[in-house]
Amino acid sequence: MAIKDYIRERFFPHIWCPGCGHGIVLNSLLRAVESLGLSKNEIVMVSGIGCSSRISGYVDFHTLHTIHGRALAFATGVKMSRPELNLIVPMGDGDALAIGGNHFIHAARRNIDITAIIMNNRIYGMTGGQFSPLSGFGSLATTAPFGNIDHDFDIVSLSKAAGATFVARTTTYHVRQMADIFRQAILHEGFSVVEVMSQCPTYFGRKNKLGSAVDMMEYFKTHTTPVGSPSKEKNPDLIERGIFIQQDRPEYCREYEKIMGRAMKGI
């Protein structure tokens, strides 16, 4: 199936700003879905609120655009009630980890088979550039005009600690790696987290004088390194990308099927 067949053309143009990284995420995601040969009817995309969450409107899957922070809770209901479906939940950094932080860690803890994509542009874009839990200490935002004193989460460490069984990070510069990671995340049976470092030139970039979208993507190229690469030892400031965790642990819906089996037998 051609990539454009996964898109609802009638709903374009999209709402994203010129230079926004989210369209690149959409591109890689659709390539991953295409390469897996999944039927559109098998995929449910659930999103919350924010720029990133609008991605669900543009794809021709079953799409559920919910309320701020709660996408994973809705997705848990969809998945538990129809475990055979593939659940993809794209979220922004604020959506996933500020207002939705509790749902995030608990979905990870349950190891429910959902693919969570965190499109991390380190800012609340839709409301005009307020700092998020990923903006980082010292960054500037409309609500941190004198510099941000909030420290940021490390999504990989957080996901790992919360119990996610697939954890990866990539960037909008590394589009082939992104598609490959999405593929593996969707195939993984359990809770998968993919952090995509994405650029918001309109707000984060402008406020923090990071240049154009291209400059910001160039930064992703020069300031990241593959997981386990020796260059990380030489330069500890480099951000690792790739797959950090990939392990088997009992998946929630499958375990519940066993519960149902036991309950029906009266055990």
Binding site: A73, G77, V78, M260
Partner: protein, 382 residues
């Protein structure tokens, strides 16, 4: 066939009603005095092929049931005041996206943590006005376990018929009290099945295009029709729009589909109303005390009656106006500061004849409490 008679708590009667109505997905979070609903469903649901989820909070609980409703399941959550507060945004989503679901609120004292193990009826207005934005809501209640069962089935039937969340407002006394319940045989009480689209695969399905009769057939998520569901104002495809006409029409639709059916949705019981000069209006556990008083006074020849409300929202104003027309005194009996009283005053022609008999101390209002108010109203002294 022997009757299926049980001696149960009201919370269990609710569970029996839900299962009878076809509940097959529940998500919830422990909170007094509703917890027994979750506990019983954790055992009962997997036995019948249903699913039970304990979520991380009440917000997640209502979101999970909405997701499961979309895939074609009959869903419910249960909570009490504080949890119901947390559910309000999700409730609004279910209103906006027109997702059938049942939310049980076993009321306790509030605001805040309040009086968790004691009775109250102070969430009547939260049920109506708790979520933001113009909308209408259906809220039912019951005063005994047979009615809890019946109203729970009704809640599911109304949710499916009108594609709306329905709130079931129980209270701590009803939830925890034990009494007899007869569970009807299957198919004795009508159960509304979900209306699904007749559009086949490959045929365009418009999730928000009403049929000629105004109903919106659904298509299960994960089935053959792919469509968008959103909490934004949306068009017939479910795609977001801020077109003023579309926003206006959807607002009207969401309100009118409930408010235009007040009469059809009104559930109530009447006791000795024919010649009643004193009319008590009550609901939930307070109606039991009101009925006790009415029967006592009737045995002494007093012309007193009880109108027991089982539908609180949409408020049956026309019914109230009609029933109160010939009464000299109307006394609203409830365990709050007058939440239904206010609606009754708006409904009747003469507000001066409407009084409140209430308790707000966590104790069940009893027939003495109501009698004392009656004596004051009738200038007989306490």
């Amino acid at each position: 066939m022997t009757e299926n008679i049980k001696f149960v708590q009201g919370n269990e009667a609710c569970v029996e009603g839900a299962l009878y109505a076809g509940l097959d997905f529940f998500a919830g979070y422990p909170i007094t005095p509703s917890t027994e609903i979750a506990e019983h469903l954790a055992t009962r649901l997997p036995r019948v092929g249903g699913r039970f989820l304990q979520m991380e909070d009440e917000i997640a609980s209502i979101c999970a049931i909405i997701g499961a409703s979309l895939t074609g399941h009959k869903v419910m959550t249960a909570t009490s005041g504080p949890g119901f507060s947390l559910m309000q945004e999700g409730l609004g989503f279910a209103v906006m996206a027109e997702i059938p679901c049942v939310i049980v609120d076993v009321q306790r004292g509030g605001p805040s943590t309040g009086n968790p193990t004691h009775v109250s009826q102070a969430d009547v207005n939260q049920a109506r006005w708790g979520t933001h934005g113009d909308h209408a809501i259906v809220a039912l209640t019951a005063s005994n376990h047979q009615d809890v069962f019946a109203m729970t089935v009704e809640a599911f039937n109304i949710a499916e018929t009108f594609r709306t969340p329905v709130v079931l407002l129980l209270d701590e006394v009803i939830g925890h009290m034990r009494e007899r319940l007869t569970v009807p045989e299957p198919d004795v009480v009508p159960v509304v099945r979900r209306l699904r689209t007749s559009a086949g695969e490959g045929v365009d399905y418009h999730p928000y295009l009403p049929r000629e009769d105004g109903r919106l057939p659904m298509s299960d998520f994960g089935g053959v029709h792919r469509y968008n569901v959103t909490g934004l104002f949306h068009d017939m495809w479910g795609f977001p729009t801020d077109n003023p006409r579309a926003v206006h029409d959807l607002t009207r639709h969401l309100v009118d589909k409930i408010q235009n059916r007040v009469h059809k949705l009104a559930r109530f019981k009447e006791y000795y109303l024919e010649d009643a000069r004193i009319l008590l209006i009550a609901y939930g556990s307070a109606a039991r005390s009101a009925l006790q008083l009415v029967e006592q006074r009737r045995s002494r020849g007093e012309r007193i009656g009880l109108l027991e409300l089982q539908t609180l929202w949409p408020f049956p104003s026309g019914l109230i106006r009609e029933k109160c027309a010939d009464a000299r005194y109307v006394v609203v009996v409830e365990m709050n500061m007058g939440q239904v009283l206010r609606e009754v005053k708006v409904a009747v022609e003469d507000q001066e004849k409407v009084f409140l008999a209430n308790r707000i101390d966590g104790s069940l209002i009893n027939h003495h409490d109501i009698m004392n108010i009656l004596r004051i109203i009738q200038s007989k002294g306490v």
